[in-house]
């Protein structure tokens, strides 16, 4: 067995880490990016592309330089440590996963994404589909050999700034059927957009389509397979992001416990507090292990991939709550303030459990995939 990273990946980790740190120096710098018109820094996005960060998220088969589970985890752990708000998840993971998993992969579009010239968002979530892969109300019909799409997609990450959107829509059947789903590529200039920021500082959008013309990318079994793979890749990326955040939360808390004095000694000197830190440390090791396992089986069969990703994302949901709440509680009032970075890490950590399946969803999926 070997649990160490290869030399190339260590280098990737080091280079990208330095690059993120030099741009995301502190929480004020992040707030600046959040408050830009697009909700992120286009400049930083372009520089990330130039440095090969986006390319590292895509397999060489489709023009990238990475794209393995380990690559995704390395990059997203660093995304978490810096709380980057750029479209790494929406465009570089979700959309490129769909575009590379369809029967006729669209290397042209993937190349544009990698080069930082094209932003594509994946619009699958709806107000009522919670975290489901197949529950879809948005519909598509064929008229004069053209696909027309009607409906509203919710929580579309970076859905305001993207020039193209990949939309899941129902071609036939009932909203809850696993068959009859299609994936379409549409131009975003004809959609009705309602952008907003999420409570943890990320740009999201409601997108409404009215008889919007779309290009069919995949349908039926292939479409559902692509949606599941994209959502699984997203859940893996978010799990790694959460791991990065947890490590920062732990370090900030430990620092504070050494500095802050109460009753004449540092708070960290109290055993009851030390035990809580040990609990946190232990659970972070568990998450790290689950993320490593999920990363290593990302390219195996779908069942193993999804089972291990569900295990990781379920654990991330549960441990994330522990770490976020303990980080605030052990700091006391200071971690309730906007000015201090711990509050922002805690918010993101909690809200990760509201994206691509929460701990309950992934527990249920784990049970299903394990034939309980």
């Amino acid at each position: 067995m070997d649990f160490t990273l290869s030399e190339e990946r260590k280098m990737l980790q080091e280079t990208v880490g330095k690059f993120f740190n030099s741009n995301y120096k502190n929480i004020d710098k992040r707030s600046e990016n959040v408050n830009l018109p697009e909700g992120y820094s286009k400049e930083f996005w372009k520089e990330s592309s130039d440095l090969g960060v986006i390319s590292a998220l895509v397999s060489p088969k489709f023009g990238g330089l990475g794209g393995s589970g380990e690559d995704i985890s390395i990059i997203f752990e660093l995304v978490g440590k810096s709380l980057c708000v750029e479209p790494f998840l929406s465009s570089a993971v979700l959309s490129s996963t769909v575009l590379s998993s369809i029967s006729n992969p669209r290397n042209d579009l993937i190349t544009d994404i990698i080069e930082g010239n094209l932003l594509i968002s994946f619009a699958h979530c709806e107000m009522n589909n919670r975290y489901e892969d197949h529950y879809i109300e948005t519909n598509a019909y064929l008229k004069n050999d053209e696909w027309n799409i009607n409906g509203t997609k919710s929580f579309v990450m970076n859905g305001d700034d993207a020039s193209k959107i990949i939309v899941s829509a129902r071609i036939n059947g009932d909203v809850n059927d696993r068959d009859g789903i299609g994936l379409f590529l549409v131009d975003n200039d004809q959609t009705l957009k309602r952008p907003y920021n999420t409570i943890d500082g990320y740009r999201s959008t409601e997108l409404t389509f009215k008889d919007l013309k779309g290009e069919l990318l995949a349908k039926d079994e292939n479409a559902l397979k692509c949606i599941i793979k994209a959502n699984s890749a997203g859940a893996l990326a978010l799990s790694a992001e959460a791991l990065g955040i947890m490590q920062i939360c732990f370090d900030l808390t430990l620092d504070y416990l050494k500095t802050r004095k109460q009753f004449g000694k540092s708070i960290g000197a109290f055993q009851s507090i030390q035990h809580r830190m040990v609990d946190m440390m232990l659970e972070i090791e568990q998450v790290k292990s689950a993320v490593m396992l999920a990363s290593s089986t990302f390219e195996t069969d779908d069942l193993t991939r999804d089972k291990n990703i569900s295990a990781a994302k379920n654990l991330v949901g549960r441990v994330g709550k522990l770490i976020a709440e303990e980080t605030i509680q052990l700091h006391g009032g200071i971690a309730m303030t906007w000015e201090y970075s711990a509050a922002h890490y805690a918010k993101r950590l909690i809200m990760i459990d509201h994206l691509m399946g929460d701990s309950d969803y992934h527990r249920d999926r784990f049970k299903l995939l394990s034939n309980f």
Partner: protein, 402 residues
């Protein structure tokens, strides 16, 4: 000896409840309770409307004895009153003057102080703030650093207070200050009344993690405070501070808040869909709600046992600390399940929706907007008023004989 326990309120108590409820129905403006229900930002005037109504009714000083203009209610009546105002979605009674300082002045103030300050509290003329916590002294209040040096006819105050709730509205602040720098912690502390208009007092906002401004820093730079503004004896402020904290503890379990949050949770769980079916039909999620309700049910009885004992004159001891711990955990659990019930609908955050008169379409169902914000905001309740860790220290030290 009690043979059979009675869990019911007396006829007299029920009549009192009806009186409070009817009065609220009649006098609380609908626009104001709507704002509270929607978690919209309350202005200084919003608080004052409700508190002036209470003044007119003679119910503002609900912790004071009758002879000073209070209600003279017993613990059960206070409990009923508090339950009804929360149920009616009234703004909270800003506690600093009427619930905190008032009782201290009544017990320890000079006649001159009582005659001057108490009527001004009763009429809402003065808005008080609490100057206890400091950057290095929160739950361990005794290690405070703000100093007041005796300069003959006045004290010269220097230092910084923090977490001053609604301090940006305040005219006056009561502070714990160090008057004997050589004394051990808890000794050498005095209780001082300071006018916020005095030169050298500066209020700076603290923005909390939900982007809101409710708490402040208050800075004192060479602030001259007349000697007559000291309450009680010099260097004995700790005694008064502890006395005041017992008043902060009433209703500490927050049972009525958790009850209304639980109802809200059930409503949302019926409307939220999981696989096209109401979330409340999910056996695991509904079990979580059931266990929360069981915790709350037991806690309500625990709380009533304490209230009932207090009505008979038994001062609550460890119960206050235990109820604070359990009460905050239950309340935080309701906010957690609420956000979980929403799923991705908890993500959108429109800060402008908390402004008065906001009339646009929300993103998602109208109840979704405040839920995540409320979850994060409620992290504070296990920190303030003596953190849960400190409550555990108090209980362990006083109860176990270890």
């Amino acid at each position: 000896m009690v043979i059979k326990m009675n869990f019911e309120y007396s006829k007299k108590d029920e009549n009192f409840r009806k009186e409070v409820k009817d009065w609220l129905d009649e006098t609380l403006p609908k626009s104001l309770s709507e704002k509270v229900k929607k978690y919209q930002r309350l202005t200084k005037e919003d608080y004052e409307i409700f508190m002036n109504n209470l003044t007119a009714k003679g119910w503002l000083a609900w912790h004071w004895p009758k002879k000073h203009g209070g209600t003279g209610w017993n613990a059960i009546e206070k409990h009923i009153f508090e339950e009804e105002i929360i149920k009616a979605s009234a703004p909270r009674i800003v506690p600093f003057g009427v619930n905190m300082l008032g009782p201290v002045l009544i017990e320890f103030g000079t006649e001159e102080q009582k005659n001057y300050y108490l009527p001004r509290i009763l009429s809402n003329e003065d808005w008080w703030a609490q100057g206890y916590s400091e950057p290095g002294a929160g739950s361990d209040l005794a290690s405070l650093k703000t100093t007041a040096v005796d300069k003959g006819d006045h004290y010269l105050v220097n230092g910084q207070k923090t977490w001053t709730t609604l301090g940006h509205h305040a005219d006056k602040i009561f502070c714990l200050v160090k008057t004997d720098l050589n004394a051990k912690p808890q000794l050498g502390i005095s209780f001082l009344l300071i006018d916020m208009d005095t030169p050298g007092v500066e209020v700076k906002p603290i923005i909390t993690l939900d982007g809101e401004h409710e708490v402040n820093e208050v800075w004192f730079t060479n602030v001259k405070v007349p000697k007559k503004n000291i309450v009680g004896k010099e260097n004995e402020g700790w005694t008064y501070a502890k006395y005041l904290l017992t008043f902060e503890r009433t209703g500490i379990a927050g049972v009525p808040y958790s009850k209304s949050a639980l109802n809200h949770l059930k409503m949302i769980s019926k409307r939220s869909l999981k696989n096209g079916k109401p979330l409340i039909e999910d056996p695991i999620f509904s079990s979580e709600i059931a266990e929360l309700e069981i915790d709350l049910l037991a806690m309500e009885i625990f709380n009533l046992r304490t209230v009932s004992a207090a009505a008979e004159g038994k001062a609550p001891g460890m119960e206050s600390s235990l109820l604070k711990i359990k009460g905050t955990l239950v309340r935080q659990k309701t906010t957690e399940l609420l956000r979980k019930a929403l799923g991705p609908q908890a993500l959108p955050y429109l800060p402008e929706q908390f402004d008065e008169g906001w009339n646009e379409m929300p993103v998602g169902p109208s109840y979704a907007g405040p839920i995540a914000k409320q979850y994060f905001n409620m992290r504070k309740i296990s920190i303030y008023g003596g953190s849960n860790e400190i409550q555990k220290n108090i209980v362990a030290k006083a109860s176990f004989g270890l």
